[in-house]
């Protein structure tokens, strides 16, 4: 039995366990490098998710467009960023969503880090 995993507050380290859990979801998101695949997803989301064999948890997280749920389902942020890109969301939008802040409040907090 391995030692207990190190916990870092507010952080999910994308390790082998996450990589195994999230493989289908990340594989789908990796496919969004291709504009034709992004269009196909938008045409028929159910069929596209089905093609990649998403788990029910992953399918629900995709349906909810919820980044914390997607991470919980094994998503890696680099691939999830391609999913977010389909909806024109940038990393500040997803930062705001994950921290429960407005985008303006999230940006203000970033700017405040300069004064520490």
């Amino acid at each position: 039995m391995n030692a207990e995993k190190r916990r870092i507050p507010g952080t999910t380290v994308f390790d082998g366990e996450q990589a195994r859990k999230g493989y289908a979801l990340n594989r789908m998101c990796f496919s969004f490098n291709d504009a034709a695949n992004r269009a196909e997803f938008l045409r028929d989301e159910d069929a596209y998710c089905g093609k990649y064999g998403l788990s029910p948890q992953q399918r629900e997280a995709v349906r909810n467009r919820n980044v914390l749920e997607l991470i919980e389902a094994g998503g890696n942020v680099y691939y999830l960023a391609k999913f977010a890109g389909i909806f024109g969301l940038d990393v500040q939008d997803i930062g705001a969503q994950q921290t429960g802040m407005t985008k303006d409040a999230f940006k203000a907090r970033l700017a405040a880090a300069a004064r520490n």
């Binding site: 190190r6 870092i8 507050p9 507010g10 952080t11 999910t12 380290v13 994308f14 390790d15 082998g16 990589a19 493989y23 990340n26 594989r27 998101c29 990796f30 969004f32 490098n33 291709d34 504009a35 992004r38 980044v67 914390l68 991470i71 890696n76 942020v77 680099y78 691939y79 999830l80 960023a81 391609k82 977010a84 890109g85 389909i86 940038d90 990393v91 500040q92 997803i94 930062g95 994950q98 921290t99 999230f106 940006k107 907090r109 970033l110 700017a111 880090a113 300069a114 520490n116």
Partner: protein, 279 residues
């Protein structure tokens, strides 16, 4: 023998590519970041390197989780950028130098760095944005050797291992039997985190200590495990590993010629540093 003229380390986040595309260099939000680069460009115009060895981390353009190399070295005659899914315009292709690539590969493996070799390799924003910051006209005057480090999937290579990879790259370049001039570029960081409830995390004190350490005490960060670095610099701030590789490649008398640090661009504490290397 080839000469390493110095190293440049810089942030590489996609938002910079968007800002370049929209010509926002003088926008008040972006100006403090872009103002970090003219001194580096002047230095490049002066030292005129022939080759750039560029150390970066792929974010899911060339590599996926089906096959994830810890270290990979390009050995292609040309490297292209491609759509990463969010619509930043692609940049012109980059010339490679397969002969030097294979020399570096031979030398690294002899040095017991068992890297993956890539005769085809797409290069993502972590490669293209620094190039566009250094040569804004995008007519690349250097041939390039991409060196890719895994920061996608833990376990990541340790800071100590990355520093020693840099030293091995330095030895490889300096044993290349030409008169060519090489600049080493490391891209990523500084502190930032995109994912989780800690998204938006920035650690100015760590960044400044890290930047200072690279001048006179470049092994300082090797005291930390990669999980320590995630905790200190954020899940993406761990890209400081690329800076350690680049700095490790400098084997001569190293001097800091320029640096700039600015918070924030996008979710990131941004920085650029320029080091001279006197043989």
């Amino acid at each position: 023998m080839a000469t390493i003229v110095g190293a440049i380390t810089t942030s590489h986040v996609p938002a910079i590519g968007r800002a370049i595309d929209r010509k926002l260099q003088d926008d008040p939000y972006w100006k403090p970041f872009f103002d970090g680069f003219p001194p580096v460009r002047s230095w490049l115009a002066e030292v005129r390197p022939d080759i750039a060895v560029l150390v970066y981390n792929d974010h899911g353009l060339n590599f996926f989780l089906d096959k994830m190399p810890t270290f990979a070295v390009g050995a292609a005659p040309e490297y292209r950028n491609a759509d990463e899914g969010w619509g930043i315009p692609t940049v012109p292709p980059f010339k490679g130098d397969p002969a030097l690539s294979w020399h570096i590969i031979e030398s690294l493996v002899a040095d017991e760095f068992d890297i993956v070799t890539c005769q085809e390799m797409l290069v993502d924003h972590a490669f293209t944005i620094p190039m566009a910051l250094l040569w804004p006209e995008q007519r690349w005057p250097v041939r390039t050797i991409p060196v890719c480090v895994n920061t996608v999937q833990a376990p990541l290579p340790s800071a100590s291992r990355c520093y020693r990879l840099g030293e091995a790259i330095g030895r490889a370049i300096e044993s290349w039997d030409t008169e060519e001039r090489v600049v080493v570029i490391g891209t990523g960081g500084l502190s930032h985190q995109l994912d989780g409830t800690r998204a938006g995390f920035i650690n100015k004190a760590f960044d400044q200590k890290f930047m200072d350490s690279l001048v006179d005490d470049p092994g300082w960060a090797t005291q930390y495990s990669t999980l320590d670095l995630v905790e200190l610099a954020g899940t993406q701030g761990v890209e400081v590993l690329m800076w350690l590789v680049a700095r490790g490649a400098l084997t001569g008398k190293v001097s800091k010629l320029h640096s700039n640090y600015h918070i924030p661009i996008s979710n990131t504490a941004s920085a650029v540093m320029l080091f001279g290397n006197q043989g």
